[in-house]
Subunit: 305 residues, 2 copies
């Protein structure tokens, strides 16, 4: 499908971090925006690299999602699956991957027009799921997730060639300033900051718990936050957050009693499928990064209540 | 000075946590408030258990404090002192204790009318410093500090008899929602929640890094946050936060590049000095909890710019 053989975003090759400008658009479509997007919202996404849509899913739908997640988290076959990642030093389920494949309900969510339609519009063409997961950040002991650009990881570890992907997170609990919400550096998506150090083999299990590779340097983070500041995403259950694949983001720990639960889908444009020549290591497992099925999502309006 | 021999707030004696009502006032004075306090502010402190006074110290004064802290943190004799606590797993200075004794500038701050005068008013009489420290929560790696009531610790580990003490924290960096600010449960100061488990000897060094004893149970925290919610203290440098000795508080980690630096003074009323019979272990060192010098502070208006 691709004839490219040039790595436009080299990373993990040199001993020092390097900045380069983004070589891809953020908004890949020139058509008029589809509802509920307005031209202003699209422009804002282009500038900031993220947008928040409160109450994209209603209370009844959130309840349906939560019930299914509670079932999944206590399902012994899920707990013992390699697709399940636990909290560091605990048996508590933190993430379950590939929910768009393994779970009937969450595969319907993946193709729901409310999120997949927006992804298709912003990415300017058909999309498929590169990665999906449910995240459960427990109360009291939820750990921080350090700053990173998803694209840097997907590029170096999965072979994603270009910046033509985005994440959609559907919040299933209230996210407020105190329970370790998503923090983003608005505007950071316009720079690609290479990371230092070779990628070790098979480190994905640890990196999903605690990142040590693909970690941006302190000076770059100081420069980014001085220049752009740090935004915090808060909202009621049912809120959806869309963010560009290259925006710098992370989250602090959560000592409050309030867990943070969300559904997480990565949409990639079908012209941007992973390429082996870009890999800095053996590819991650298929449940973390799609490597075989690039069929476009059959997007339709779904309803879950 | 005291003839009391009854422990009004038993803790760390039983196998299950117990709630009891506070047996002491929050506002110990019935005089009209002193400036800058208004009757409304005092009433609010009584209700919530804390108050925030933005810009109690001006920019120039903050700069003087910061310069002195930078000097202290790199002073080899301070770094090697037992009064200095480092970050877990790091040589980075987190806290330096007894700054009201060892440091000329910060002993003047301790008796400054702007903070000590307010403490004397709220506590209804002469005050002395039970504990002081500077806190440095670094950027990128600042760790969380779990929920606790200071009074529970001071009662069990220092022998402080009654709830007639308060903390004043002077913020020396901007505290915003993203850099691990102080979280408080407003109203929680009206309940005393006993903690479970015997206090081990000499655990103070560890507990100042990461608390494992004097830790409230999950159910009590859920009940408190359901009932009262969680407030987050933010403000520019120079802001002072006063909070009651028994309010439940803590903070999340800080992955942002922005460090959090503050000065911290605990004022205790001179009628409420520590009593050995209340101790659940050998007393903590004198630099953590004053045990000998209960002389009232000679409060005066100081200026530092």
């Amino acid at each position: 499908m691709h004839a490219e053989t040039i790595d436009l975003y080299p990373t993990r090759h040199t001993g020092k971090p390097e900045w380069q400008d983004r070589m891809d658009p953020v908004i890949h479509s020139s058509d008029p925006p589809i509802p509920p997007l307005s031209p202003e919202m699209v422009e804002d996404f282009g500038e900031k690299g993220y947008m928040v849509l409160p109450e994209l899913y209603n209370t009844a739908e959130v309840a349906v999602f939560r019930a299914e997640i509670d079932r999944i988290r206590t399902d012994p076959s899920v707990r013992s699956s390699e697709k399940t990642i636990c909290e560091p030093g605990s048996e508590s389920v933190r993430s379950v991957f590939a929910i768009h494949r393994d779970n009937t309900l969450f595969s319907r969510v993946a193709r729901d027009k409310r999120i997949a339609g927006i992804a298709r519009y912003l990415l300017g063409g058909d999309v498929y799921i590169h990665q999906s997961r449910l995240n459960f950040k427990p109360g009291f002991t939820g750990k921080e997730f350090y700053w990173h650009s998803d694209f840097e990881t997907w590029h170096a570890e999965d072979g994603m060639p270009r910046m033509r992907a985005l994440s959609c997170s559907i919040l299933l609990t209230r996210n407020d300033v105190s329970n370790g919400p998503l923090m983003l550096i608005p505007g950071s998506h316009r720079h690609f900051i290479s990371c230092v150090g070779k990628t070790p083999e098979n480190h994905y299990r640890e990196s999903l718990k605690k990142q040590e590779y693909g970690v941006p340097d302190h000076k770059s983070l100081v420069d980014l936050s001085d220049r752009y500041g740090i935004d915090t995403v808060t909202g009621p259950p049912g809120t959806a957050v869309f963010f560009d694949c290259n925006i710098m983001h992370g989250s602090n720990s959560n000592i409050t009693p309030l867990p943070r639960v969300n559904l997480f889908y990565v949409f990639n444009q079908t012209g941007n499928i992973v390429e082996d020549f870009l890999l800095t290591r053996h590819p991650r497992p298929d449940f973390i990064a799609e490597r075989t099925n690039f069929a476009p999502l059959d997007i339709q309006r779904e309803q879950f209540d």
